[in-house]
């Protein structure tokens, strides 16, 4: 399950992920919602794969991996993660206007709260990695590089999927971002 804020490139990232999984030989389904929700709101994209997939949506509370493009959204979708699931979370924070006009401020201790849930939490400084790669819009590709450690998919499949997914103009920078972020996000062995 990929979650974040409208405009962060979540739908495109889930497209790339699906391409990877199809190339790796899985049955794949995905479901996301377009339209009103995309205007800066909370966005969710469900991706499922396996021998045979029926429901395109992840059953409530049954996500194996939550990929959060933003900290608050990770916390919001925490109930969707399985008991022993994993969270891959970008350390980026996008503060909604409601945090200063509404009753609740932006929570301070999100990463700690995620870790307290007994889940495997993989923190990714996606924005910093994207800046290193030379384009802040590659943050979603950097997050995908972290995801690659959690899926048993060969490197050349990722290569091919990225090549197919990005138009030539931005292909090079996304390849650079992926390679750089894959190096930088290798989780400790005991956790992988």
């Amino acid at each position: 399950m990929l979650v974040g804020v409208g405009g962060q490139g979540i739908i495109l990232a889930s497209e790339v992920l699906c391409r990877v999984l199809v190339l790796a030989g899985h049955d794949v389904k995905k479901s996301d919602v377009h339209g009103m929700a995309q205007r800066g709101g909370s966005v969710r994209s469900d991706v499922r794969f396996g021998l045979k997939v029926f429901s395109p949506t992840i059953p409530p509370g049954q996500a194996d991996i939550l990929v959060a493009f933003e900290q608050l959204e990770a916390l919001r979708y925490l109930p969707e993660v399985k008991r022993k699931g994993r969270i891959i979370v970008s350390t980026e924070r996008i503060i909604p206007t409601t945090a200063y006009t509404g009753p609740y401020p932006y929570p301070r201790d999100i990463l700690a709260r995620l870790r307290d849930g007994g889940l495997h939490v993989h923190e990714v400084p996606a924005a910093e990695l994207a800046a290193q790669a030379g384009n802040p819009r590659t943050a979603s590709t950097c997050l995908l590089a972290a995801v690659s450690w959690h899926l048993k998919v060969a490197d050349d499949v990722w290569d091919r999927a990225l090549r197919e997914a990005f138009p030539e103009k931005i292909r090079e920078v996304n390849f650079r971002a992926f390679a750089l972020a894959r190096q930088a996000t290798q989780p400790a062995l005991s956790n992988s």
């Binding site: 377009h34 009103m36 029926f54 429901s55 949506t57 509370g61 503060i95 006009t101």
Partner: protein
């Protein structure tokens, strides 16, 4: 190939040899016509509204071409008028109408169940459950349409239309054009002709029922006979996911209701369930056969189903897995108007003027959310204009009433009620938020953009001249980035004891990022932390450093600032300036 249901329907139209596709954009149906426009050579059109789309598709079918009309569920309400009578006339070339329903109302004002339209209009309905079926059923729909001389309804839901799954592609059919054949008793529905056609419709239903009983689209998937489940559409996937052992009757063609298949299936199982989203459409028809069934008492008629809800409905709540509690006290993240949105300035002024605002369908409907909260109604396309007039009649005065409608929505359904205001001596003020696109559904063109569905130049409908032709003499054009001019003009229009139209003219900035000016910045030492700019609800205005009395100063996120300048005009301390000016 991994395709969305909508892409698969477009592919199905291509393989079926469709020669005309017409649509009005609406979530979750929009991508059908977008894909046809982008990836095929099928002649295709954005229509001003769904009624026109269906009438154009009908005309093409009359001319012997296969034709497709696609729309969201509420769009079929608009197109219901032609639908009811095209059912009587029948077609010539195949005609498939796609209704994309939105259970859960992800992007809609209601969650009506359009399966009722099949029964209402007495036309066959197909209900795909994944993308492969979206493509296959589109082809099947055209075959049924031509064989039985009827329009066919293809009904999807958000998860089917927007869900992606694997599809194997086929080759396009090459069809001989049939041409137009004059047949006045069939196509001219005067009462004398229509009475005879109604007989044909009823006989056709009998034939279609036989088809529904025989077609492989309605199939039994045998399993454990202690539990039997009748299901269709997206709900089928949830059933297969959570009840792999059960016997299942999958209805790909749920109308006309396949009575013999259902009787046979019901007799073969111990306990019979119907699993369907929204209304008890199948369930009622099972009961009408005198068969006992468990349905809506276990499965909600509200919103979407999901695999867990289906399992709990069949096997009881013990099957419901434990779930973490939702963390308390999280700030909501509702969709908001984008940075630089030209609607924002208009709503800021309206809030200041404390008017009653009848609203409409589009991005601007978001103005009802905090902090603007400046919209008092939202019902359906065009309703802002007519209801402003009715409100004036009830209150006896329109000096405090504004109807707000977007450009695409105005062309869709706002013109007739504007004529009504003039005709019936109203004095309302209507604001057309002309951002020169159908923005909410992802920037589709319409008659007032001057571009076709494939981006070709065409005649651009002149909204100002149109309003004047309707009899509105007081038509004003303002730039909604100019708050002072916007306020002056709205005040003058409200004071005018005659109908007024204000066209707030500014393209949606998302269409052309290169038009954005230099990002703005807050000079913190001048910022009094008064919060005035926060109340614009601009996502580019974030919290900065500490101010007096625990308040926070403003900070502008340069990467997303469109430099519309509204905050500059609002700031009482003149603390907001272009970043380069500030550095000096």
């Amino acid at each position: 190939m991994l395709l969305s249901g909508n892409e698969a329907i477009a592919r199905g139209a291509y393989e079926a040899g469709v020669r005309l596709a017409a649509s009005y954009p609406g979530t979750p149906s929009t991508e059908i016509l977008e894909t046809i426009a982008a990836q095929t050579d099928i002649p295709c059109e954005w229509s001003p509204n769904e009624k026109v789309a269906l009438e154009v598709a009908f005309g093409a079918a009359l001319g012997g071409a296969r034709a497709l009309a696609s729309m969201k569920h509420v769009g079929l309400n608009v197109a219901a008028d032609p639908l009811m009578t095209i059912s009587y006339t029948g077609i010539n070339g195949g005609l498939v109408i796609v209704s994309a329903d939105d259970p859960g109302m992800h992007s809609s004002q209601n969650e009506q169940d359009n399966r009722h339209y099949a029964r209402f209009a007495k036309v066959p309905m197909l209900e795909p459950s994944d993308s492969q079926e979206c493509k296959d059923f589109t082809l099947e729909g055209f075959a049924i349409s031509e064989k039985y001389d009827t329009p066919v309804l293809l009904r999807t839901t958000t998860r089917v239309s927007h869900g992606k799954s694997l599809v194997s592609l086929g080759e396009p059919l090459s069809l001989e054009p049939r041409g137009f054949v004059r047949d006045q008793p069939k196509y001219v529905m005067i009462p004398g002709h229509a009475r005879l056609r109604h007989v044909v419709v009823e006989e056709r239903l009998i034939g279609l029922r036989d088809l529904a009983n025989a077609t492989p689209l309605n199939r039994v998937e045998p399993g454990d006979t202690s539990v039997g489940i009748i299901t269709s559409g997206g709900a089928y996937q949830y059933v297969k996911e959570t009840c792999p052992e059960a016997s299942v009757l999958k209805l790909g063609m749920p109308y006309p209701f396949p009575d013999r298949v259902v009787r046979h299936f019901a007799a073969s199982v111990d306990r019979l369930f119907v699993v369907e989203e929204l209304d008890p459409f199948l369930e009622d028809q099972v009961r009408a056969l005198g068969i006992q069934v468990i349905g809506k008492e276990r499965f909600s008629a509200l919103g979407e189903l999901d695999p867990v809800a289906v399992a709990a409905g069949i096997y009881g709540s013990k099957r419901r897995p434990k779930r973490r509690a939702q963390p308390d006290g999280l700030p909501a993240r509702p969709p908001v108007m984008c940075p630089g949105c030209p609607h924002r300035g208009v709503f800021h002024v309206l809030r200041k003027l404390k008017v009653i605002a009848t609203g409409d369908i589009g991005c601007y409907t978001l103005s009802v959310l905090p902090p603007l909260q400046m919209m008092d109604t939202c019902v359906c396309m065009g309703a802002s204009v007519g209801s402003a007039h009715g409100l004036e009649k009830a209150l006896g005065d329109a000096s405090n009433i504004v109807g707000i409608i977007g450009d695409s929505t105005f062309v869709h359904s706002g013109i007739a009620p504007l004529i009504d205001i003039v005709y019936n001596k109203g004095t309302s003020t209507i604001i057309i938020l002309d951002n020169r696109t159908t923005a909410m559904t992802g920037h589709q063109d319409h008659p007032a953009t001057g571009r076709t569905a494939r981006g070709e130049q065409t005649f651009r409908l002149n909204l100002e001249a149109l309003c004047r032709a309707c009899g509105v003499e007081d038509v004003r054009i303002v730039d909604p980035y100019d708050l002072e001019a916007t306020e002056e003009n709205i005040k003058a229009a409200l004071a005018n004891r005659a109908p007024s139209v204000i066209i707030a003219d500014r393209p949606c900035p998302l269409m052309d990022r290169s038009s954005w000016g230099e990002p703005l910045a807050v000079e913190e030492e001048f910022c009094a932390a008064c919060g005035a700019c926060f109340r614009l609800g601009c996502p580019a205005i974030s919290i900065g450093g500490a101010g007096p009395k625990g308040r926070r100063k403003a900070r502008i996120v340069a990467e997303i600032c469109a430099a519309c300048g509204l905050c500059v005009q609002i700031c009482p301390k003149e603390a907001i300036k272009p970043a380069s000016v500030m550095k000096r």
